[in-house]
Symmetry: C2
Subunit: 219 residues, 2 copies
């Protein structure tokens, strides 16, 4: 019974995700869905990415997903990009339909890139695709180097893996070699990005990745 | 339809949680359920607590909940307490029935305290009580001082709030005053613990809290 209902929910989510993807493809908009634990630094990665891509002449907007508060949307707008805040009101992940409704509210004229921040959660968002071209997992140094072993599905299904807060490596017992080895074992295809939003290290490489795929989409 | 099914799941979870509580009460065992983000340091808090409470002559065992891996159970056994590892196989929180089954596997002769580590997740475990006497929320400095605003349900329903990794305060822009003010607004009753598992600061205060409630339970 429970499985049936879950299939129903996942099925209708899949239809909405497919519609989102078609809309983005038709409009040559590259969409990226970022997931990670609470406090892994997803919003900080967005702030750095917005600054760098804007400097490169790119136009981007942001969809922020949170259980509550509009803190992140306010941070994004201070960073210079329009943001639409979704409050899930308790739900532990975004649904594709929530993103569809957010897209209807945003003025997308001339927009090239949509960054979506999922609810802070390393488990539930994995089952609910939003239709984005890439799903990027944000892990961070303070969470510990064993996270791929403990949350394998999220790491296995990511199209890119960010290790954030690398400026904290001197202060913490984190074995970066072990972390990336575990990532390789679960998902050898996903590009790997080591980032510090404090120093800015690695943001340019992430932006190169985004621009390369934007160029492919534009054909 | 979906609400009906959720009610059904929560209803059967409530029955199992009540049975767990009755078992613990009957056997004068104090049970504590720890929840927090992946990497907030729940297992490290357990390691420090086991060392201190064992030194004080207390007998405790641990139930570890993870999506995958037995990393945490192995850490706990190295710290000197028997641990039972539950792998949820994808589920984003423990159910009360999982804990009941774990209790059947543990030799509880002479055990005074059960520490339960829930799956790393600041959203989903809140809806599924396990029957424990106290639910302790573990937040940590690297996650940022705005977490109570963004995950209010978890903070509102906690019976105690730990701010972990306070040794990292000099390295991070974390306003501890703001964090505790937000906790006060959501939940003025929950005792607050500032802890560093690296230096050991604050572990004794948490152990005092546990021993005080153990004495009450023993009557």
């Amino acid at each position: 019974m429970r499985v049936e209902v879950m299939r129903g929910i996942l099925g209708s989510n899949k239809a909405a995700a497919d519609a989102n993807r078609k809309f983005w493809d038709d409009n040559r908009i590259l969409a990226l869905d970022f997931m990670g634990s609470p406090g892994s630094g997803k919003t900080s990665v967005f702030e750095g990415t917005i600054a760098e891509l804007t400097k490169r002449g790119r136009t981007l907007k942001v969809i922020e997903g949170d259980v509550a508060s509009d803190n992140d949307a306010r941070r994004i707008e201070q960073a210079g990009a329009e943001a639409f805040q979704i409050n899930t009101g308790g739900a532990c992940h975004l649904h594709a339909a929530m993103v569809s409704r957010a897209m209807e509210q945003l003025d997308l004229d001339g927009v090239q890139i949509i960054l979506i921040e999922n609810v802070g959660n390393l488990v539930c968002p994995t089952a609910f695709l939003l239709g984005a071209h890439f799903r990027i997992l944000v892990a961070s140094v303070p969470e510990g180097d064993d996270k791929p072993e403990k949350y394998p599905v999220a790491f296995r299904e990511a199209d890119g893996i960010i290790l954030n807060k690398i400026d904290l490596l001197p202060h913490l017992p984190f074995d970066a070699g072990r972390f990336w080895d575990l990532c390789d074992q679960l998902n050898a295809e996903a590009p790997q990005f080591a980032i510090s939003c404090t120093t800015g290290e690695g943001i340019d490489t992430l932006c190169d990745f985004i621009e390369r795929h934007l160029a492919e989409l534009a054909g």
